[in-house]
């Protein structure tokens, strides 16, 4: 199984949130339900100040706690590419996935009474295309592909100060960030 994942370059991201909008458009998600979110962090003391943006969705973890804890098996890891998918038909809206993810990926939809999450745009991926967020990015800051290839190309950086310890779920992501963001 070749695990699919994301490379994200925080150093060129402008925090414009186009990825978030593309994601909302693709998934038709209501207000407050965001499968991808953009965060901004800042710090330092004048004149040495710093700031960076962080665009995060589901990391399609190697050890997804959401899938492990889901009582119905609605969340599962797809065999061929390791994408963590969510079967809406099976979901009963218990929010166990929301309690299980340190990356806020599963989102509870009050209207539907069910959860939902980023599926890596599996339908587009199956057609050989990129996830919506990747192609929408003006800065080409997000890449999607075989995570091992992405790590070989960009290095394996995931331990940021603002993220949970990568050992917890083994996220399939590598992030290029400014030094201040790293542990």
């Amino acid at each position: 199984m070749a695990q699919k994942g994301f490379y994200y370059n925080s150093t060129i991201c402008t925090g414009c949130k186009t990825c978030l909008i593309a994601c909302k458009d693709k998934n038709d998600s209501p207000v407050g339900v965001n499968y991808r979110k953009v965060y901004t962090f800042e710090g330092g003391k004048f004149p040495n100040v710093w700031a960076y943006s962080l665009s995060m969705s589901c990391h399609h973890c190697e050890k997804p706690k959401c899938a492990e804890n889901c009582p119905t098996g609605a969340i599962y890891k797809r065999k061929e590419d390791g994408l963590v998918l969510h079967d809406k038909e099976k979901c009963i809206g218990c929010r166990m996935c929301v309690w299980s993810c340190p990356y806020e990926a599963p989102q509870y939809n009050e209207e539907e009474g069910k959860a939902g999450k980023c599926d890596g745009c599996a339908d587009l991926v199956d057609k050989g295309q990129n996830p919506a967020c990747v192609d929408a990015c003006l800065m080409r800051a997000i890449e999607f592909g075989d995570i091992e290839e992405l790590r070989a190309k960009y290095g394996d950086h995931v331990n940021l100060k603002v993220l949970a310890d990568a050992k917890m779920t083994k996220p399939s992501i590598t992030v290029h960030a400014i030094p201040e963001a790293k542990i």
Binding site: K37, N69, P71, C91, C94, W99, S100
Partner: protein, 288 residues
């Protein structure tokens, strides 16, 4: 987590722990209180045993209100291979079924001790699974050993208080032997409280070492909810102390039963507050 969000789970966990705790104490009393005599023992514990089943059923029904899609509740057991939530529902459901079988047998005069112990194991498995659900989340306040201690602690406290109350309420004569059984049951409840109080500072220091989110949880426990926590333990420990006071002063059994009923209400209030605080501490590790 707030009350308006999580009230179904507060009731589900508390009622399940009440049902399982009372059931276990009654099985233990029925097994080891040979001096009371078989028939008398069954009559003394009959009311308590009758109550545990409907309480468990009520807990299961209330848990449905937690779900966004309650109609799919049956699917909650499908992932029992890896999900503690599935296991919890399986064991809680099985606990009710075995209680029902035992209840029918008891009505026919053929209570089975083996079935009682089997269901005791199932009940413990249900509480263990319930604790493990919270231990498997990303809330530092819940992934601690404290979750197991407080869930089993509530089971023991409710079981002790409930068993004493229901035995006192039975019409059987409360002789010396009965009171000595009630003493042991009551003391077990106090021990369960002491163990939790001893662990409280260890829990607090563990939270302090759990990074920013752990510190935030600790500030809720030791800040916003400091007085709630103190009050919670006064209620639970005070209720149990009143029960013990009643059973150690063996005069006027009718008054003792009334006293135990009041004390029981205090224990329920204490445990409810304790669970409220537990959910208030559920702050997740997230991005930031």
């Amino acid at each position: 987590m707030t009350f308006s969000e999580e009230w179904p789970l507060m009731f589900f966990t508390l009622l399940t722990q009440f049902a399982v705790g009372t059931y276990i104490f009654i099985v233990v009393v029925r097994t080891f209180s040979k001096k009371l005599g078989q028939e008398k023992c069954m009559k003394l514990t009959g009311l308590g045993m009758t109550v545990t089943g409907p309480v468990m059923l009520a807990a299961l029904i209330l848990s449905l209100f937690h779900l966004g899609t309650p109609a799919g509740a049956y699917r909650a057991v499908l992932n029992w291979g890896s999900s503690w939530l599935s296991r919890e529902i399986l064991f809680a459901g099985l606990f009710f079924v075995l209680w029902f079988i035992g209840y029918v047998m008891e009505k026919k005069g053929t209570w089975s001790q083996v079935l009682g112990w089997l269901n005791t194991v199932v009940g413990i498995a249900a509480i263990y699974s319930m604790s493990s659900i919270y231990a498997a989340t990303v809330m530092p306040a819940w992934t601690d050993f404290n979750t197991y201690l407080s869930f089993f602690g509530t089971t023991a406290v409710f079981g002790a208080a409930g068993t004493v109350l229901f035995m006192l309420l039975s019409k059987e004569e409360k002789n010396e032997q009965v009171m000595s059984v009630l003493k042991i049951v009551g003391i077990t409840g106090i021990v369960a409280v002491l163990l939790q109080l001893i662990y409280l500072p260890i829990y607090a220091s563990a939270l302090a070492a759990e990074g920013a989110v752990g510190v935030k949880s600790l500030s809720v426990l030791a800040g916003n909810h400091l007085y709630t926590t103190v009050f919670r333990w006064i209620l639970t420990a005070g209720g149990l102390a009143i029960i013990l006071h009643g059973v150690f002063r063996k005069t006027m059994t009718k008054a003792v039963a009334q006293l135990a009923a009041v004390a029981f209400v205090l224990v329920v209030a204490g445990e409810f507050l304790g669970r409220f605080i537990f959910y208030a501490l559920g702050i997740p590790i997230d991005i930031g």
